[in-house]
């Protein structure tokens, strides 16, 4: 007895929605479909229309044109007060009621909806436990007796209290310190994974967006510039604005696009031709490297001294100066060369490094196995600090 073609409508549909203030668009011709259980993040620079968009969904603001549907119902036909009681709403200023206890704050929407007292209390306690608040300890506290992070948690619980399918959150964690913020993001993710609410989340923090979003709507001057999953935005930003906004450091780049000059170690450990073997050995030890790049007074690269050659020279005696022990330069790279080309030279060089020299043969830096690998990892998995790749080139040492 299934009804063909009668699939579940999207949770929210924005249909060519615009809002005009004093002749200028705060939101312009925005169309968006949000699936059930999806977490959509609205992001963009200040004043781009994120809050306006959000508030049109619960009719705190009426669109100038266009239609908005929730569960297939045109919301302009629904009583705004009734509509809002079915939508969770969290604002940046938290907005807890100072004269009501934590329990009264959380239980307010159920109260407005006429849920009996006993049932309300049960619900409040369950919600408090959900975020690790012992109900006996927190139920009867007043907002001013809570920390900022605790207040914001209560703000989120208040939005969850009536068990709405749709929750709107306007920069809910904006005012918090980074650690609390991350905790709350984790908690939200956990809640989202458990309850599969549809969430529209406003932020101006790209890291937050990338972490939380199923889909990101990047806005600029009221227009949705790009809509896509975090991966899509990172891999194929629509234009220079998106690229700028995401931030170069997070973007996925291809090895062909990265120049050697960007990732080389700029101050390699060097030696001079006249240096004695003992002095060269000391220098290697001091800098914890196993290779010295030998340069003349002009900085022109003359050769490479490896620890092995140095030890051999010292053991056999006779030759005791760097110029007698060093090996020829071999393959080098140019700062403008791509990392991909340099990787080939690196593979060819036994020393495990490629000196980077300019047109005049002067040493500009060095590319090592270590710096190359960490760069590739960083380029391919941007923002992957959790994987321990967030500190590639900075720490790599010349032939460390």
């Amino acid at each position: 007895m299934s009804l063909p073609g009668k699939s579940v409508p999207p949770a929210v549909i924005l249909e060519r929605v615009s809002k005009v203030y004093d002749g200028s668009y705060a939101v312009r011709d925005l169309s968006l479909e949000i699936a059930r259980g999806e977490l959509v993040v609205l992001i963009g620079p200040s004043g781009c229309g994120k809050t306006t968009t959000l508030k049109m969904i619960n009719r705190l603001i009426e669109p100038t044109s266009g239609r908005i549907y929730i569960d297939g119902r045109d919301i302009s036909t629904v009583n705004p007060t009734k509509l809002r009681r079915e939508i969770g709403y969290v604002i940046q200023q938290i907005g807890l009621f100072p004269h009501l206890t934590v329990a009264q704050n959380i239980g307010l929407v159920p109260y407005l909806r006429g849920v009996p007292r006993a049932q309300r209390e049960e619900r409040v306690d369950a919600l408090l436990r959900l975020v690790g608040f012992e109900p006996e300890l927190y139920r009867d506290r007043y907002p001013r007796e809570l920390s900022g992070g605790q207040q914001q948690r209560v703000g989120v619980l208040r939005a969850l209290a009536a068990d709405p399918d749709l929750i709107l959150m306007d920069e809910p964690f904006g005012a918090l310190d980074p650690i609390t913020r991350e905790q709350l993001q984790d908690e939200l993710k956990r809640l989202q994974n458990t309850f599969h609410k549809t969430i529209v989340f406003v932020t101006h923090d790209m890291d937050e967006a990338l972490k939380l979003a199923d889909r990101i709507v990047l806005m600029r001057e009221g227009v949705a510039v790009q809509v896509g999953s975090p991966e899509e935005l990172l891999r194929s930003p629509a234009d220079e604005f998106v690229r700028e906004f995401i931030g170069k450091r997070r973007l996925v780049r291809h090895p062909e696009e990265v120049a050697v000059g960007e990732i080389m170690v700029a101050a390699p450990v060097t030696g001079t031709p006249r240096m004695g073997a003992a002095e060269a050995f000391q220098k290697m030890q001091r800098h914890q490297v196993n290779t010295l790049l030998v340069v003349d007074e002009q900085g022109v690269l003359l050769g490479i001294l490896t620890l092995r050659a140095l030890q051999k020279g010292i053991r056999e005696g006779g030759r005791s100066r760097v110029e007698e022990l060093m090996e020829p330069v071999g393959a080098t790279a140019h700062p403008q060369e791509t990392v991909l080309q340099a990787a080939r030279s690196l593979a060819a060089n036994r020393a495990g490094l490629v000196p980077v020299v300019d047109e005049e043969g002067r040493l500009r830096g060095v590319l090592t196995n270590a710096s190359l690998i960490s760069t590739l990892v960083e380029v391919l998995w941007p923002g992957g600090e959790e994987n321990g790749t967030g500190h590639g080139k900075g720490r790599a040492r010349a032939a460390g």
Partner: protein, 218 residues
Amino acid sequence: MEVTLATLWQTYLARSDKFWALAQEHLLTLVVLPVVLAALVSIPLGILATRYRWIQVPSVAFANLMQTIPSLALLAILIALGFGIGNKPAIVALFLYSLLPILRNTYTGILNVDSGILEAARGMGMSAWQILTLVEFPIAFPVIMAGIRTAAVICVGLATLAAFIGGGGLGDFIITGLGMANNNLTLLGAIPAAAMALMLDWVLGKIEQWLTPRGLRL
């Protein structure tokens, strides 16, 4: 004329019935009644003033004007306007004086409710009436109560003038005492009036504290 505690006591004993009648009249008829009437007018008016500018401007101007008219002049004006003499013009005058503090405090108290709180209230689906009764009024309550307290204390003092037009109250003793050059009698009116002002201030302060939700107490 010599005044000692003993002579004062003598003066009181000689007319203790009248004293208590006047004190009661002072408190109930000349303070509680006009202040309650003023609160009934000023609180709704103050709330409406936060909603409608066309109410705010004239009502605050009117209340301000009332405060600036010297009290005896106001009494005279009221008599001239046909309120006659006795209790009635006194009550009207005290009512007019009480309007401003209550109106002003109601207006600012409601207006100062944090905008984030109001947005949250609206966003969670409270009706305008629910926002007023469940959010704005309770949060503004301590401020409104402070306005009522101010009005009451002002009234205790001004009410002593009511006797000039036969309005009764403790001012009766003061004026009769002044007329007869009887300092004991004058003080029998003045000292209890001052005490009443202090006591009322204290009692209303306690009531205010007791009625203020714990989350708003400092």
